[in-house]
């Protein structure tokens, strides 16, 4: 019933204009975009404040899942950062056009020190909601806290390759790297989502509850942020209320006086509230209900291509009865799935079928993959023969209960049955499914959707693939950090690989590191193509399609900026 899609490794920015900026999301030299595009704030028309001066203009936004906390160092999920991003400011922002823009810093820096450091200079005149000035010590404290392993911050890994911070002058903080890493700024759009006052997280002894899980800011960030809205109250299961920051450093926004996030896990309740006017805006809309909303004259809708992929994870490990450890079986499934049909049946024709991991129109997608026919029953049947089961085989597909994925799973089941592959669908509660897929070897395939918030292809190639102890597909190589219960798995390294690799995963991890470190764009592209092709040739996982982002709002609301990776609610006005 509740489409409580709490997605991980996602930030609240949601939309991207597909053609334009993806090509621009290059790896090297991306820092040149420091001052371009930028927020919708500078484009906003005239008047500051919102609505009539007598009444408080409150924008009601319905969300499907409850936030977890209000400390940027603890945001492992979308729900919290969607709201939190209005209370805090990011150090580096991602615009709705998927470009980098300076947030709390004056400009998006290029690397210095032979690429081994980045210097970030704070703007002038920044204030916390409690009135105190923002200093470089606060900046250092905020970053150090996340980097400190004792704090167990769940987003530590979003600031990779940084060994420490250093105050350069009274407005500038330097981040020192352990290796060249040109895309750091893109990672920071999700890694540094706010600066807090020095000491405001509390000390280890003061905190109640386990460290890393709760800080002083967790439930009550009053006065702690710098953002366009100030925290008023959080009533669990009910709402989060924010009010306008009158002293916001960006001119002209926000326009509304208050934002009230209404927590409504139930789809139909959200929609009913939207229709009746109790809710002004929502972005959590099931596809089938979107159609009927489009027909409602008092409601405006918007759709943009999204950054969520519908993906079938596959257990690569050898285990009792697991047909997916066989590469030919995996490839058979891959060629047997018709992504276009899924988009038609489930998503009403919206979305983009994938040709491998990255957006098919981007220059960062391998040309070889662009040409490849992804749905090919003949190829699939040949794979089945190679696998030794020409008449097909049976596997179990895990799906989260109560989600639209079930319908999708049924379509896939239908498609695969045509080539003799029988799919048994098992629905599980979300936590139970995660436990089974990420903590055990006792599964075959899981149909999920996954959102990545950073529009950089190496980020996508990394998240969910690289960590040896835990990734989407039980893909492991022998190494000291491999937990006992796992064994190396997956196909071998490619034949033309240079060097000694214990298996494919080993090769993949090393090769990706090279791509992230090199400054030559052409070289990077070639490595990236190679990695993408490897993933598809070996059907490590099956990336089906990108689904679109949907939003609907009442006609009294305007200026909501939708983007594929990041949306901006700050300039919204309401009559």
């Amino acid at each position: 019933m509740a489409s409580n899609i709490t997605e991980y490794d996602i930030d609240r920015r949601q939309f991207l204009a597909l053609t334009g900026a993806l090509s621009g999301a290059s790896l090297a030299g991306c820092t040149g975009n420091s001052d371009s595009g930028g927020g919708s704030g500078t484009d906003s028309t005239g008047s500051s404040g919102g609505g009539s001066s007598d009444e408080t203009v409150r924008l009601n936004v319905a969300i499907a899942s409850e936030p977890w906390n209000f400390d940027p160092a603890l945001w492992a999920d979308t729900g919290s950062s969607a709201i939190g991003s209005l209370i805090y400011d990011e150090v580096i922002e991602l615009t709705p056009d998927s470009e980098l823009a300076p947030g709390l810093v004056k400009e998006v820096p290029k690397p210095t020190n032979d690429g081994m450091a980045f210097d970030y200079e704070l703007r002038d005149g920044l204030q916390f909601h409690n009135g105190d000035e923002v200093t470089v010590e606060d900046f250092k404290y905020s970053v150090d806290w996340i980097l400190n392993p004792d704090n167990n911050s769940p987003i530590r890994r979003r600031i990779p390759n940084v060994e420490g911070t250093e105050i350069v002058d009274d407005r500038t903080l330097r981040l020192n790297l352990t290796t060249q890493f040109s895309t750091l700024n893109w990672w920071l759009t999700r890694g540094l989502e706010g600066i807090v006052q020095k000491g405001s997280r509390g000390s280890a002894s003061e905190r109640e509850g386990p460290t890393g899980i709760a800080t002083n800011l967790t439930t009550d960030p009053s006065g702690a942020g710098t953002g366009p809205f100030e925290f008023v109250e959080w009533n669990t299961n009910e709402n989060v209320l924010l009010k306008k920051n009158e002293n916001y450093w960006k001119e002209g926004i926000p326009k509304v006086d208050e934002i009230n996030f209404q927590i409504m896990p139930e789809d139909s309740t959200r929609l009913a509230n939207l229709r009746s006017g109790t809710t002004d805006l929502t972005t959590s809309i099931p596809d089938k209900d979107f159609e009927s909303l489009k027909g409602d004259p008092s409601i405006k809708t918007g759709t943009v291509p999204g950054n969520t992929t519908e993906v079938l994870y596959l257990n690569l490990m050898e285990a009792e009865g697991n047909p997916m450890s066989n590469v030919n079986n995996r490839r058979a499934v891959q060629w047997g799935i018709d992504a276009e049909e899924i988009l038609d049946e489930i998503f009403y024709g919206r979305g983009v079928a994938q040709q491998g991991l990255w957006y098919p129109d981007s220059e960062w997608t391998s040309p070889k993959l662009k040409e490849m026919k992804m749905y090919d029953q003949e190829k699939a049947r040949r794979e089945l023969e190679k696998a030794g089961n020409p008449d097909g085989f049976t596997f179990e597909m895990l799906i989260t209960k109560g989600s639209h994925l079930k319908d999708q799973g049924v379509v896939i089941q239908n498609q695969l049955s045509k080539i003799g592959i029988d799919v048994e669908i098992t629905t599980l509660e979300k936590s139970a499914l995660f436990d089974q897929v990420y903590n055990t070897t006792d599964w075959h395939a899981a149909l999920e959707n996954w959102t990545n918030a950073v529009p950089v292809v190496t980020y996508w190639l990394s998240t969910g693939f690289v960590p040896n102890d835990r990734n989407h597909n039980n893909w492991h190589h022998a190494s000291p950090d491999l937990p006992d219960r796992y064994a190396p798995s997956g196909p071998p390294a490619p034949e033309d690989a240079e060097g000694d690799f214990s298996n494919g995963h080993d090769w993949y991890v090393q090769t990706l590191k090279k791509a992230q470190q090199t400054a030559d764009e052409q070289e990077q592209k070639e490595i990236v193509y190679r990695l993408q092709e490897y993933l598809v040739e070996n059907a490590i996982q099956i990336d089906i399609a990108y689904s679109s982002r949907l939003a609907a709002w009442s006609d009294s609301v305007s200026d909501y900026q939708m983007g594929s990776f990041a949306s901006d609610i700050r300039p919204v006005t309401k009559d």
């Binding site: 490794d9 167990n152 890393g212 669990t236 509230n273 936590s431 436990d435 960590p467 989407h472």
Partner: protein, 322 residues
């Protein structure tokens, strides 16, 4: 045995019941897949961090140690702080802030159910097989068959959307702030929740009344010239209601159950919704505390029913004394 002793004896049974229930819940949570750390930190999180957090939450200790630690503070009223629902907030506060809503919802729904169900049952029995009876039987059947969350959604669509009543889409205001608005917001949820209960009560009352009306003592009353109205309302009803009361009492479980669904659909921040959130987020502290709380409610409800039953049925009263 006097009523006081009877009640006291029953109250003492709460202790072993709570013990048993809490051990069972503890055990189940222990076995259930996924845990608060995994849920909180995300599936791709570093193994080491997850284990760290688990051990800080005490989840790596042996089962009985965990139980002892929890139980020893629970007894003195310290039910811990929430791990994942609203991190750091004392569980007792979370429950307290929601108690009023769920209690009010359940109470009003039960009231509605009784106020509709019993008279409808009596009418159905007295006008057996006449239009009034058929109508109320169809009504009862629908009430039982229609899932209350579906009914809730329909009510929202009709009243909230079509007629645009702004209290028609859920939400809640404390009765201390604004009693009128409070009741307005509760009308639809109470209807959604109470209808099924009303239906059950109606059927039970009707069948009990039919049986009672055939009893010999009804014949005696009529033979003595007592008006039909008095015969129905006085002689028959008191007898018929005895089993109905037990059904009502046992049904309180169903009421709490339905409250969960109703609160979700109407977006009411009550105990039911808290429970769902806590389960999805594996917040053991909140789950345990809620289970204890609900157990107590059950025990009291059953106790009240028994006391009421004894009051209504003199035979039980006397037997209790012998």
């Amino acid at each position: 045995m006097s009523t006081a002793r009877f009640i006291l004896k029953r109250l003492m049974l709460i202790v072993p019941v709570l013990f048993g229930v809490s051990v069972a819940v503890f055990g189940l949570l222990h076995i259930a897949p996924g845990g608060p750390a995994a849920v909180l930190l995300g599936p791709l999180q570093n193994e080491q961090i997850i284990q760290e957090v688990r051990s800080q939450l005490g989840l790596d200790k042996p089962f009985y140690v965990q139980y002892w630690l929890w139980a020893s503070s629970a007894i003195v009223g310290d039910l811990g702080t929430s791990w994942t629902v609203q991190q750091g907030t004392p569980v007792v506060d979370l429950i307290k802030s929601r108690l009023l809503l769920t209690f009010e919802l359940a109470l009003l729904a039960q009231l509605l159910a009784v106020l509709i169900g019993i008279p409808a049952g009596i009418i159905g029995a007295v006008r057996q097989n006449k239009p009034a009876d058929h109508l109320s039987r169809i009504g009862a059947l629908s009430g039982i068959s229609i899932p209350n969350f579906w009914l809730g959604i329909v009510l929202i669509m009709v009243f909230g959307v079509t007629f645009n009543f702004d209290w028609g889409t859920g939400g809640w205001i404390s009765p201390f702030e604004d009693p009128v608005a409070n009741l307005q917001h509760l009308i639809l949820p109470v209807i959604a929740l109470g209808t099924a209960r009303a239906a059950i009560i109606q059927r039970m009352t009707r069948s009990e009344m039919l049986e009672t009306m055939n009893q010999d003592y009804i014949r005696t009353a009529r033979a003595m010239g007592i008006s039909e109205r008095e015969v129905i309302l006085k002689d028959a009803t008191k007898n018929a209601l005895i089993p109905v009361v037990t059904v009502i009492g046992i049904g309180i479980g169903g009421l709490l159950n339905g409250a969960v669904l109703t609160e979700t659909v109407f977006n009411l921040p009550g105990l039911g919704k808290l429970f769902i959130t806590a389960i999805a987020r594996r917040d053991f502290e909140v789950i345990r505390a809620l289970v204890l709380f609900i157990t107590c409610v059950f025990v009291f409800a059953n106790l009240s029913v028994d006391v009421l039953y004894a009051y209504l049925n003199p035979k039980i009263r006397e037997d209790g004394g012998n």
